[in-house]
């Protein structure tokens, strides 16, 4: 059976969620593998969310926020960026491919970019194959 990636996306309310919404209302065609979790700001996204997503079976995790300088709360997206970069280093140490975690800035008007992002990320994850975290972490051997 062909592998169908499960992707969790954390989208910030003000920019990236609106952008994703725009992709939908504009009837853009894009892959349906993404499940969206809306947060008020990408600065709300913390490592625990992402690690839990992998532990519960996500094959890839996407985080989107406002472009630098445009954050509704001034600097939330910068905090997100810093955490994201450190987290990527950590997951690489844990044997999780760093490509499974992606951060991209999506503004409220960037519906097309969101659709393209989803498509290309889903493709990347398809090529990587299923993420083994859920299987290996939830049983003690």
């Amino acid at each position: 059976m062909k592998f169908n990636p499960r992707i969790i996306a954390f989208l910030c309310n003000w920019c990236s969620y609106t952008g994703a919404d725009l992709a939908g209302t504009s009837r853009m065609q894009y892959k349906s593998n993404v499940r969206v979790v809306r947060v008020m700001c990408s600065g709300r996204v913390e490592p625990t969310f992402i690690l839990k997503a992998f532990k519960n079976g996500a094959d890839g995790v996407l985080v989107c926020g406002c472009h630098p300088g445009d954050c509704h709360y001034q600097e939330g997206n910068y905090r997100c960026l810093r955490r994201f970069l450190l987290l990527q280093k950590y997951i690489t140490q844990m044997g999780i491919e760093s490509e499974r975690l992606k951060l991209e800035w999506i503004s409220a008007s960037e519906g097309k970019q969101f659709a393209e992002l989803v498509n290309s990320f889903t493709e990347t994850i398809s090529e990587l194959g299923p993420c083994m975290v859920k299987e290996q972490v939830n049983t003690l051997t």
């Binding site: 913390e46 690690l51 810093r82 955490r83 970069l85 140490q93 083994m132 972490v137 003690l140």
Partner: protein, 326 residues
């Protein structure tokens, strides 16, 4: 402290699994107060010091032991067997010390598979000479008969990953004064916190107790390895750019490593029951980086040379990603 007419002595057991002996030393470090401990408690099982056999424990009625301090991680079949046995025979089972609480230092073995560990130790080390690739076996035949060893697991486990655990006393090893406080509380019949609680430790972070000087200046432009700076002995390590797990570590040890001019490495575990013992610290460390350009941030992060080994030094087996994915 305890009179002849007081209630029957507390039956106390101390057992070590995949341990180093430091927790047993911490019990003995009561020094002169040992006599008070002995007058209040009957040591019924302590393989290091007493001759109670595993068979004797098996013959005990359930809940016979009032209090068991179980230290060490669960690394092999013998450790697991004893954890389950002592759960049955103990009224209160305490995960004593970092290894039983969170996996501890032996938990770092979760960065490797069982095969990788055995290969390194028995075939690859610089001094080993083993052309026939002999490995220790759970069962092997020798000319005189059969010999057995415990089965070595792939995953290191904390005590509560194997049996239901009543309380956790953190620390590597727990500071003896904290143990005495718990012991006195139990013996004097004080009401204990709800099962599953961490006891014998503070509720806030190390920073609360630490006497190093902290300012509002928590913006880092570079992280330093401890040997890259001359520590002034007075200022908070984080403010000197040296990573210290203090902000994410429960108090109770008396900031003993800081007293030795070394940054905290988190042996007391997180200040509250969190989903993951290291993630909050990762988040905090990243947040104080004083840079907005991704490339510059990456340069700063490069100096966090071993995130997994630092943020999860004592707690890898109980973290969300509790082992390296192979």
């Amino acid at each position: 402290m305890y009179t002849e007419e007081s209630k029957p002595k507390l039956k106390l057991a101390v057992y070590w699994a995949a341990a180093c002996g430091g927790c047993c030393v911490s019990v003995l470090d009561v020094h002169e107060k040992l006599f008070d401990v002995i007058s209040a408690a009957d040591l019924v099982f302590w393989p290091i010091a007493l001759d109670t056999k595993y068979k004797d424990v098996e013959e005990m009625p359930d809940n016979y032991i009032d209090l068991t301090l179980f230290n060490g991680a669960v690394r092999n079949s013998e450790n697991e067997h004893m954890a389950k046995l002592l759960r049955k025979k103990s009224r209160i089972l305490v995960a004593y010390g970092s290894c039983a609480h969170m996996g501890g230092i032996p938990g770092l073995a979760n960065f490797s598979t069982k095969e990788e560990v055995l290969y390194r130790i028995f075939e690859e080390t610089e001094s080993v000479v083993n052309p026939e690739k002999v490995r220790p076996l759970p069962e092997c035949d020798v000319p005189e008969g059969k010999l057995e060893l415990p089965f070595f697991y792939n995953d290191v486990r904390s005590l509560s990953q194997v049996v239901e655990t009543d309380y956790f006393i953190p620390g590597c090893p727990p500071q003896t004064e904290r143990l005495l406080e718990v012991f006195i509380a139990i013996v004097s019949g004080a009401k204990l916190p709800p099962p599953g609680s961490v006891i014998g430790a503070g509720t806030r972070s190390q920073c609360d107790e630490c006497v190093r000087i902290k300012t509002e200046n928590k913006r880092i432009r570079k992280f330093y390895r401890p040997w890259e700076i001359i520590d002034d002995g007075i200022t908070c390590f984080m403010e000197q750019g040296v990573l210290c797990m203090g902000p994410a570590t429960r108090s109770g040890c008396g900031y003993r490593c800081i007293k030795g001019n070394a940054p905290c490495r988190g042996c007391y575990g997180p200040p509250e029951d969190l989903n993951d013992p290291g993630a909050k610290m990762m988040s905090a460390v990243a947040s104080i980086i004083d840079e907005e350009d991704p490339e510059e941030i990456m340069k700063i992060i490069e100096d966090v040379v071993d995130p997994a080994g630092l943020f999860y030094r004592f707690s890898l087996p109980v973290s969300l990603i509790r082992r390296k994915i192979s």
